[in-house]
Symmetry: none
Subunit: 529 residues, 2 copies
């Protein structure tokens, strides 16, 4: 990265990210994320706001015990209160007590906020910025100044907004970060405003950017600021943050590196962005966004037949960067728009070499088309596809055959609903007949099937269902419509999907369930060979 321009990455997943609806990090969660961000080579990690959140006080105590190699930990807080001494300010005291080496102080840039939210004078606000920054500097802390609502403030009163920056700089802030707190600013406005700021403050004053995504342009605003000379980008992993989120660092970092030649975290860590992104969504207990740029499961997924055949010949035809560059991978989906080349490619991924001229490929294409016409969809059901493929080629993947099942759901007034399922299956020459209860019909069927197979295949204990989706295919017919069930399963190492279709939701669920178990067992036994 020598010779390349370089920006610092300032992560606020633990503070601004935690403001997102549905996110609630425990202390342990925050510490685990901190370790991961440090491994990734992030420069700054904002741990929290000790003045606003008692949990954050504990974080700063515990984080000192972590052997971090790279990142500096930052404590976040506001300027001192109006009309009071900085030495006696509770918020400022808590920032010092956090013992964080870096303190990020946010101050008001927008006159509306000074008069309406703080209810103080414009002059007092300037003194609040000056006192807070210089006091923290005197206590030996590195101070980052976050100019809250800078762009809105600039639009309302440019001279005042510029004055707040000047005051923070002269009081000793190491860097001034322009915040688009409400997320309403567009990239060309960021460029215009930054141009003026650089002219007025001089090129020697380092600037940063903190963008929110309310207009869908947080990433664009961040890279626009870097083009105008910003040397720090604040954002969050996966763009988590209040309302519509913050600038997504998993998008900003590769955009800077691959498209603008601007370095940030070490290049070998960029290959771990996929892992980081999924790690943080797991900890936040949020479904990962499949469509997220670079790191989403669908980001390098090709569905159309035209695209699929071109990409096999020359990946750059439909990929802006190689998926491996961020740790992701290419996927080719089988869908009703896909032809032979998709199927040959998918088979290859599964370790099966198919000659496109092999008549069995035509048989397979035919089978898939018929299944899709009936309502099957293999996009989310790679395992059902693989079972179909291998069985068509003559391999035995179905471990058992269904003899019969019966599900009874019974509800009596003011009593809990009782659900019982019986399953009778044939495994080679054995017939196994079991019964089990469950929270609902599918759960009960799942329990009964496990009971039938676990004695023969203890590996089944490892396999569990991780998602269950139901889609009504033809709404016109109301409750008599055709139903598609998609099930996702995992053995802790790998995830696979299966599908079932029927007018009867129980039968559709059984199909997907049976395929899920078959695939899991087949895979396990094959690896043991």
């Amino acid at each position: 990265m020598e010779g390349k321009p370089q920006v610092e990455i300032y992560d606020t997943t633990l503070r601004d990210g935690a403001q997102m609806e549905g996110v609630n990090f425990s202390l342990q969660d925050k510490l685990r994320i901190t370790e991961k961000l440090d491994e990734m080579g992030f420069h700054y990690i904002e741990g929290g706001w000790p003045g606003a959140n008692p949990k954050d006080v504990a974080f700063f105590r515990e984080v000192r015990k972590l052997p971090l190699k790279h990142a500096k930990i930052c404590a976040f807080g506001s300027t001192r209160r109006a009309d009071s001494a900085v030495e006696e300010d509770r918020n400022i005291r808590l920032l010092l007590e956090s013992e964080a080496p870096v303190v990020t102080i946010f101050g008001k840039s927008w006159t509306l906020h000074v008069t309406e939210a703080l209810k103080t004078t414009l002059d007092e606000n300037l003194r609040m910025i000056e006192d807070s920054v210089s006091y923290l500097r005197k206590q030996g802390r590195e101070v980052i100044y976050d100019a809250e609502h800078f762009f809105d403030g600039y639009k309302a009163d440019p001279e005042y907004a510029l004055k707040t920056l000047q005051v923070a700089w002269e009081a000793g802030a190491r860097i001034l970060v322009l915040c688009d707190t409400n997320g309403g600013t567009l990239p060309h406005e960021v460029e215009e405003v930054m141009k003026v700021v650089r002219e007025r403050l001089g090129k020697g004053v380092p600037l940063g950017i903190h963008a929110h995504n309310d207009s869908g342009v947080a990433v664009a605003n961040s890279i626009a600021a870097v083009r105008m000379g910003a040397v720090q980008v604040q954002g969050t992993v996966n763009g988590y943050g209040e309302r519509c989120g913050n600038a997504n660092l998993c998008t900003v970092i590769p955009n800077l590196w691959f498209k603008m030649g601007v370095a940030s975290i070490p290049e070998d860590r960029i290959r771990k962005l996929f892992e980081l992104s999924h790690f943080v969504s797991e900890i936040a207990n949020l479904r990962h966004d499949d469509y997220q740029p670079y790191v989403g499961r669908s980001a390098f997924t090709h569905k159309g037949g035209v695209h699929a055949s071109a990409i096999l010949r020359h990946p750059a035809t439909y990929e802006h960067v190689p998926p491996e560059a961020v740790g992701n991978q290419r996927r080719i989906l089988v869908s009703d728009q896909s032809g032979k080349s998709n199927i040959v490619y998918r088979a290859k991924e599964m370790g099966v070499d198919l000659d496109p001229k092999d008549p069995r490929v035509d048989a397979l294409v035919q089978k898939i088309k018929e299944a899709e016409n009936f309502g099957y969809q293999f996009e989310g059901a790679d395992a059902s596809f693989e079972i179909l493929l291998r069985e068509t080629l003559g391999e035995k993947v179905k471990f058992f055959d269904l003899e019969s099942f019966r599900v009874i759901v019974e509800k009596r007034k003011e009593e809990n609903t009782v659900t019982e399922a019986t399953v009778k299956i044939r495994v080679d020459e054995d017939v196994v007949h079991t019964v089990a209860e469950g929270d609902g019909p599918v759960h009960a069927l799942d329990n009964a099937l496990r009971k039938a197979l676990e004695r023969l295949y203890p590996a089944l204990k490892r396999i569990r269902l991780s998602d269950y989706k139901v889609r009504v295919l033809s709404e016109k017919e109301g409750t008599a419509a055709k139903i598609r069930v998609l099930i996702q399963s995992t053995d802790g190492e790998r995830v696979w999907g299966t599908v079932g279709v029927s007018t009867n939701i129980i039968e559709a669920s059984w199909e997907a369930l049976a395929d899920s178990v078959r695939y899991g067992l087949w895979r396990k036994l094959r690896r043991e060979k």
Copy 2:
């Protein structure tokens, strides 16, 4: 909007949007979305690619029967094949047979694609563009030319890329649309390239933009193009599209209008963007993205205490536009103030005047909060909400009480699945006990309930279920997760929605079913009074 600059909105939700992993529109879905987009005042609706997808041929046949008021329907397809006559080209013939008044032809701008994907010469590619556009023009179609991979093509060989545009323009295309097909282009590159294109082609040639989101900047690229003079923006509702999606029109349209003063759809329709966005995600059966700019459920949600108190005094302090401007609403997670006024407002819509100080309103707020915590959602279930409201106020809407039900689903190898439901209900002093079969458990329950009530309430014959939707709420628990069922019913005059929630899908379906019948009967009897 007089005097304001204006751009056309070209929607490709039905074609590029359908390329998204997990999206699979039925013919009915596509027709319903078309009607909605037309109501919204969109200018162009791309219906599909008749050459690639037989389902799309049916769409163009059926869409001619819809009484559209505003939008023009477009058929999408490629230029003619290499080394063949345009009159004999199957793809071109299908475009004409679609009878769509507008044909959108995409051609290759990137030399790599001409030689590697088409495997033809650069000259032949130019003739393919020329022949295809001029032939379609001669057949009386409006032709939109999509310059595929234009930005990548321009980077590789600017003169050739410009030449393809020139050829398409001279052959009679009405507008030239620059496509960032791989989504790898950044906003400043869009600006630079568009500047050259305008200089070289002249200001009289109308240009459009078609952006993909692989770098997280599709919205920014679209508005950058408009700033450089583009008069058409192509995109999709919710940004659906292949890989990471297309430019999100639900973000582009309000950005243009509120922030740049550029008109597109009529201003009163901008207030319906929230509704449109949720409608399309419902039809696609995709979870709506809570964090989506403007139209996400969290887009105007305030979590922190600091923000919440400021916002009550002065909304602009933390909101970039008023939520009502796009049909969304402010939510403050710490206060039940907004909940109360919401309920009073909704009751009024149903003809019930409530005093906010009435203690029954507090009871109702409490009940709704508990229900929503449990997983109920009344947005798509107006009838369940009204039943809750009226019962809380002392009105009798529930015509019957459940004594018990039992559902049996039985499957034997190679036989059809048999489903039987028994229902025992109390209507005043009568106990009615019935049994019925059905295609699936919910259908059988529906049949048994009707059998029990039709003798007493012949009006029930008119009521039928028109939609049935299932959503799994907590994916972590697999088949033991909580499930929400939404049922839509109609009596031929009006449509209403009901909801049920349980870990047992049968119980959840029963709840929604019972509410559906109760509401339909109550409404019928009230009108007869």
